[in-house]
Symmetry: C2
Subunit: 301 residues, 2 copies
């Protein structure tokens, strides 16, 4: 199989260009191929920006990496961060990749396939990025979005008494990772690991209807997400989960759903608009009160 050194940087750039030179998007003015990209935001909208990485040895191992799905994941985990800010419309992504010169060219070409697929699926233009030689494989993606200022939801807006709620799986990605390490790369759990669903629509509904008082994406385990939300809001929280969910909630996880808070009076509306939302607890004035629960989630502090 041909290596990246044999394909050459120019060869790879030509493939990238042919893939991303005909993108159409209302915000896209200049795409890849110049020193920088140009995008046009809607009047009255603010710019929302986030960045995330996937690195060999930390997020994946070459033994079980699937570069097409890895591109899906890289895009989705960044879109998930945009979703967690409220009603955010993606404007574009910039993507960097580092590969060893001796890497099979398919690593890069599969990654490009995956990126093009999901960029089309989520209607987000690829604005540019960078390729470089690297002894270990790594990827960085920056996602840019736009939103009306009134439709931004911070981590810090929760009030005592607000209900704590979630959208998306709990623990599925962690099971998928275990499956992958054990040699199983198909099925629901592997999919949850590789292709988490960015909750852009749910984020939009919660923000546009003024329902979420605070929000975060669930990227490092449910308990950790609840803790960060509480911390930023200067509160504690109490969880009430079904017994089978406790273990999953306490574990590390890359589920990438949303965790958010809602005033009790608004819960009916949330259930109506987002039937997939579930309650997980309540925000509490005293941080100490949650520490008293013998559930083990002090561990995450």
């Amino acid at each position: 199989m041909k290596t990246l050194a044999e394909l050459g940087e120019d060869g790879l750039l030509a493939r990238i260009r042919s893939r991303f030179s005909r993108q159409k998007h209302s915000t896209l003015v200049v795409g890849p191929g110049d020193d920088a990209a140009i995008s046009k935001l809607k009047p009255g909208h603010v710019l929302v920006s986030t960045q995330d990485n996937l690195a060999e040895g930390a997020h994946f191992e070459l033994a079980w990496a699937d570069f097409r799905r890895l591109a899906h994941k890289l895009l989705r985990i960044n879109l998930s961060d945009l979703a967690a800010m409220g009603a955010v419309s993606p404007v574009g992504v910039l993507v960097s990749a580092g590969f060893p010169a001796k890497a099979p060219q398919d690593w890069a070409l599969d990654f490009l396939d995956g990126l093009a697929e999901d960029a089309a699926r989520f209607k987000v233009p690829v604005l540019g990025g960078n390729l470089c030689r690297s002894q270990k494989v790594f990827f960085t993606l920056t996602a840019l979005g736009q939103a009306k200022p009134a439709h931004i939801v911070r981590r810090s807006g929760a009030r005592a008494g607000d209900l704590l709620a979630g959208i998306g799986p709990i623990g599925d990605a962690a099971r998928g990772l275990a499956d992958l390490k054990a040699g199983t790369s198909s099925g629901r759990f592997a999919k949850a690991f590789w292709e988490p669903e960015p909750q852009l629509k749910a984020g939009r509904i919660l923000a546009e209807h003024g329902l979420a008082t605070s929000m975060i994406d669930n990227s490092d385990g449910l308990m950790r997400s609840c803790d960060l939300l509480a911390q930023e809001s200067g509160l504690g929280f109490r969880l009430s989960l079904a017994r089978m969910q406790w273990e999953a909630a306490k574990a590390d996880g890359e589920d990438y759903g949303l965790v958010f808070t809602v005033k009790p009076k608004d819960w009916g509306r949330v259930e109506q608009l987002l039937p997939q939302a579930y309650r997980i607890g309540v925000m509490w004035t005293e941080r100490r009160s949650s520490a008293r629960k013998p559930t083990g989630f002090d561990h995450f502090r």
Copy 2:
């Protein structure tokens, strides 16, 4: 010396927060600490975005890396890309870093020092980013800027007969790299390698006065930059350099000045406004005409 594993991710994040939580900038609405950052562009301005990497083994070696100056370089090479698009005002940067867990904490802390220094020097807010474990050190920076659409200069606008000109050193960074490999880390050339000057003011002047018909940042050697500009404009070019500059022009280089084209009638105005600008050649209708010159720059095609 303490390792990053001993400092811990939370310890490092606390340092980052304390450094970047009090930034003030007209565009900055929400900085680091939420799922994404929020910036506010001026009405009628477009978003300019670019991304670049520095990776161990490709751009630097641990034997001679200086992480403070490496942060300077990473920021500046991205600002240089913004400068090459015309009159662009920086809006913010997102910065990712991958370090081995066993790395001395000073690698990260020195990098943070350098980032904070140059972010202040160039008045650009640090919006966010990401930290991850990685077996080899790598960095990615995304720079965001804003510009009036009329003040954007593309690579593709050159016309036959336009003068080809430059701003910034030729070959200094390559000499600096050679010095560093030989153990000399101080002096003008090492500085040119680590701390190239992003030509934001020159880019602004050339764009606002309508002087540059095309522009590119000189990131991979002067000849390569001229060739890319010519290619994007569908033209060839002829160079007329002093003899001592030929070798430097043909070599690889990371000088990061600007290469641009100007109508002959406008050259006087360029000299007046930018006395540091120098002429290097002329754009030519037939690409073949430049290929006939026995200067060796076919090599870069």
